[in-house]
């Protein structure tokens, strides 16, 4: 997500694929999408990783489309109820939907760019609420067995649908709740010297 060249987050986010359509013939690179052809013909559609796209599209060799994780269908689902959308289905369990979205917003031109940004921000804020509630529940419930029973169902699904960025936040929040709870329950009595 950073513009930092060495940022691991952005390197991973750039690995996501976007649909591209070749405008020209390319010789000898037919193997790229695993096909048997020797050359790529103009008009071929292919999924290329994000890091290839800016160079190629600037030269007008490919035409870039909005990838599936940010399609109108997904955006409508998010507007309806952001919490029930499973981001991990869109980009895979270790994928970064937010990072990918930010890169798409940078790549695209104006009306689409701010549309995607707004979708990202709203989705993040809404999901953050549930994320925090669950994290504190699981942090505090570490030592009690039966309390995860009632929220188990809906909570489990939500947690499966988190993307990598959200999972990191979840772990952070859960860790800090756990530490506070442990400290609170152990005695600070000075042992006799």
């Amino acid at each position: 997500m950073d513009t930092d060249y060495y940022s691991i987050d952005s390197i991973l986010a750039e690995n996501h694929k976007i649909p591209c359509k070749f405008e020209i013939d390319v010789q000898g690179l037919g193997y790229i999408d695993g096909g048997n052809e020797k050359d790529i013909k103009a008009g071929t559609k292919m999924l290329l990783p994000y890091w290839l796209a800016p160079t190629l599209s600037l030269q007008d060799w490919v035409d870039v489309e909005i990838p599936q994780p940010f399609s109108a269908k997904v955006r409508r689902a998010l507007a309806a109820d952001a919490r029930s959308v499973k981001l991990s289905n869109l980009v895979g369990g270790t994928g970064t939907w937010y990072g990918f979205g930010k890169m798409m917003a940078d790549l695209l031109r104006e009306p689409q760019s701010s549309e995607i940004s707004t979708t990202l921000i709203n989705a993040f804020k809404l999901r953050l609420i549930d994320l925090m509630d669950q994290a504190s529940h699981f942090g505090g419930a570490a030592s009690s067995i039966g309390s995860s029973g009632e929220t188990g169902e809906g909570g489990g699904e939500f947690r499966e649908g988190l993307d990598a960025t959200e999972r990191e936040l979840f772990t952070l929040a859960q860790g800090s709740v756990q530490r506070t709870k442990e400290w609170y329950e152990t005695s600070s009595k000075l042992r006799s010297v």
Binding site: S114, L120, K125, L128, S136, R179, E182, Y184, L190
Partner: protein, 212 residues
Amino acid sequence: MALPVSLHASTTPQELEFIAGYDMIEIMPSVRTDRIRVLSGTYGPLDALRTTKVPVWMALHLKARKKCRIVSPAWLSVDYLQDRLAEETSDKAFSLLPFRYAEIAKLLLDSAAEDIESADKIRLILKDIHEARQAKSREGLHQINDVNLRVRNICALELNDIRPSFVKSMDILIKLSPQAQQSHEEEDTFRDWSMGDDSYPVAADSTMETEW
């Protein structure tokens, strides 16, 4: 030796407890000594007839050797805390409590419970206060945006609790914001930041150790 990952995120509650040990507290010594000179300052002389102010860590060490009796701070009483609890449960904002109330209360209740009136009752009230405030600080996260967050009267432990997730979420929100606004907002982020911090304990309106 690298710092363990669990310590990257924020200070631990044990570290906060240690820092809280530097707050001053009144004791009634049962021995007589000259002035005590330690790295953090000079305290005393201790006199069996007068109360003296010493750091909490020193008070607890003296207490462990049965050389003093600790005078319970004004805010650590059933009435005061019950008033605060009523405020916490009825109001959406945080009530006024000493910045390090949780750590100091724990230190005193664990090592010097006999010097504090109704220690058990106080423990229960404190637990309720603690939970109410924690719930509120979680609530506060719901209003997060990418510019600033004003919280009055938050205390050290709650602050430490929400710090890692809060900082990371704000980071993500800043990155997601449309490019045009980004450079403008980054300047404001530093100027408007008005949440208290452990190293600059000046949360708006929080009381510091000298008041009680």
